[in-house]
Symmetry: C2
Subunit: 359 residues, 2 copies
């Protein structure tokens, strides 16, 4: 595509091209499970600003924390404990759950929510292991629950525009991808669940950060991973329980595209996704840390693509609610998330064996 | 380092920090072996503009071509054939040779030049195979010849500044690297030596392009590769004789840094080298296609580092001549190039076996 064609194509897009509900529809009432900083600082403000969502129940391991958070937010009717949630307390007060606990505690809340006929928005990665993720898939299917894995990049406008442009052939055939998501979690101290293999699963960096490069590439290329290679190491004392203070891994996708990826929980804040094709390239940078910018290079011309700056969590919650309000299956259903879980497990296996692992 | 410290540090650098000769020294008289477009369009103008070099002899497979090119350039005393070169023709008319033939024809000219006591500047990769590269090392050592492998990035100011900054701790400890060099050679037609495994060696993309990511990372980190993983494929009909129309490979370096790299001879023109550390990151982009730009990110600040825009080939020739004039060993001696040859061979072996290959 020429620069002019790309500009015309981009300007034809609408914000929230996924939205089918009317603004007056809803709200979907949420129970938020797990009241860590992400839920309190990211999810709750996003829901408050959203079009279709409302927080009515908050769920914590601690009754005191649940009550405190409940008291701080006008829309919240009640704060309950994990045990009370499992005992179906306040089940009439919410339509859907948002599960934002440590990875290894997702399954139990999926099970309770599904049993109660609630819709489920579950943070990624789905669970700590492939086996437990498979239980989530089976549980949701058996209960016929509407469920979504919380991939906020899918409703980030820059990512959607990147996907549209690739699909329209703007950079020719995609050839290879570079993806990185890195940050430092040392400042959070040693006692955090991402460094505890019982809670995080296979590791700290690929599970939590590498998943962005894998899943966003999947989404943009509309192709699934078929094989991986990987190297990882942990030297810093904080990372003795997990193998991947830093990881470098390559993913072969259906169609022949290779993605080379890095992820580290002990590096400077950095994220980008670059897709190089036969006729041009796309760069998302920053990519994954709550805001995304897109630029496209074709020939000698590099264009910054103006996309709406959104609250990615607000878009994610409203997309999920929009699916519920119109009885649609979310794009990132549990089967979608399960493909990532198998890819992540393969990355850890490949690092351990030193061999290419087919997925 | 703070932004202010980095600025102060950068401003303390001088152009040609490697130069020890006086401008009036020289010239070193060169015989140029192999008169393809690179020699004629890149090397000859660079030498003409250089401080310490002069082209006095040109050597081609074709007597006619040698004579034509000789007639076109005032400084050139004579054009001779490959056979005449091997028979020591015009040996008094040059001090050093620049070997820019297909990879598999480097060794023979190294042997003739070494026999004649000439200094040797040999294009990279050194040769088509590890075994033949080892012959180059042995030949140069036996003759006590001053020899250099032609890594033009070593005298690119942006690369040298990147190396200095890493060394000074500007981005903390380096953690991981992303390197890409891609271009399309389809326009050059099917009959080119880079697509002929007898002439190019192990493959087309990693040998010719991937070497830039590997070697420049080595140079900037002052660390050698110790293990590699790799995936590659060839689908396009032009690439039936070589395995790597596109390649994705990871290199583990001494000290624990991982470099994830891509290379393709059938993609859009793209090159970058990004080094992410614990406290900041460096980006060379463009990196490898004849001009290089450097920027540094520390915290929230991203600085474009002003470096001299040079003719990379002119710098390379003058550096080599400067070494000869002051009787210094060039940095990229044959042993240095041989490390890359082993790494490249390992990349191809890793792709074939699907296993991590130690170097």
């Amino acid at each position: 595509m020429s620069v002019r064609d790309i500009e015309a194509y981009i300007s034809s897009f609408t914000h929230r091209d996924w939205q089918e509900s009317n603004e007056s529809d809803g709200p979907i009432r949420f129970a938020l499970v797990g009241l860590g900083w992400w839920t309190r600082d990211k999810a709750m403000p996003a829901i408050e600003n959203s079009t279709f969502c409302e927080t009515t129940v908050v769920v914590s391991s601690s009754a005191e924390k649940a009550n405190t958070v409940a008291a701080e937010h006008e829309s919240v009717e009640i704060g309950i404990t994990y045990e009370e949630f499992h005992e179906d307390s306040a089940a009439d007060a919410y339509d859907a759950v948002y599960i934002c606990t440590p990875n290894a505690r997702h399954l139990e809340f999926v099970e309770s929510a599904a049993k109660n006929g609630k819709a489920i928005l579950c943070e990624k990665p789905m669970e700590a292991t492939v086996e437990r993720a498979e239980h989530i898939v089976d549980t949701c299917n058996a209960a016929d629950a509407t469920a979504m894995i919380a991939y906020r990049m899918h409703t980030e406008p820059a990512v959607r525009r990147a996907r549209n442009l690739i699909d329209a052939g703007a950079i020719g055939d995609p050839v290879h991808v570079h993806g990185d998501m890195s940050q430092s979690i040392l400042g959070w101290g040693r006692e955090q669940w991402r460094l505890d293999s019982d809670l995080v699963g296979y590791g700290a960096s690929v599970m939590d950060l590498g998943i962005y490069s894998v899943n966003t590439t999947r989404f943009i290329l509309t192709a699934d991973p078929i094989a991986v290679q990987s190297m990882m190491r942990s030297d810093h004392e904080y990372f003795t329980d997990v193998p991947d203070e830093v990881a470098a891994f390559s993913v072969a996708f259906e169609g022949g595209v290779y993605a080379t990826c890095t992820a580290s929980q002990n590096a400077t804040l950095n994220s980008q996704l670059r897709i190089v094709g036969t006729e041009g390239s796309l760069l998302l940078e920053p990519a994954f840390h709550m805001s995304s910018s897109l630029c496209v290079t074709v020939g000698n011309a590099t264009m910054d693509i103006d996309t709406e700056q959104v609250d990615q969590m607000e878009e994610e919650f409203d997309y999920f609610a929009d699916c519920l309000l119109t009885d649609r299956e979310p794009y990132a259903n549990p089967e979608h998330g399960f493909v990532d879980m198998r890819a992540l497990a393969a990355v850890y296996e490949a690092a351990e064996t030193g061999e290419t692992v087919d997925i």
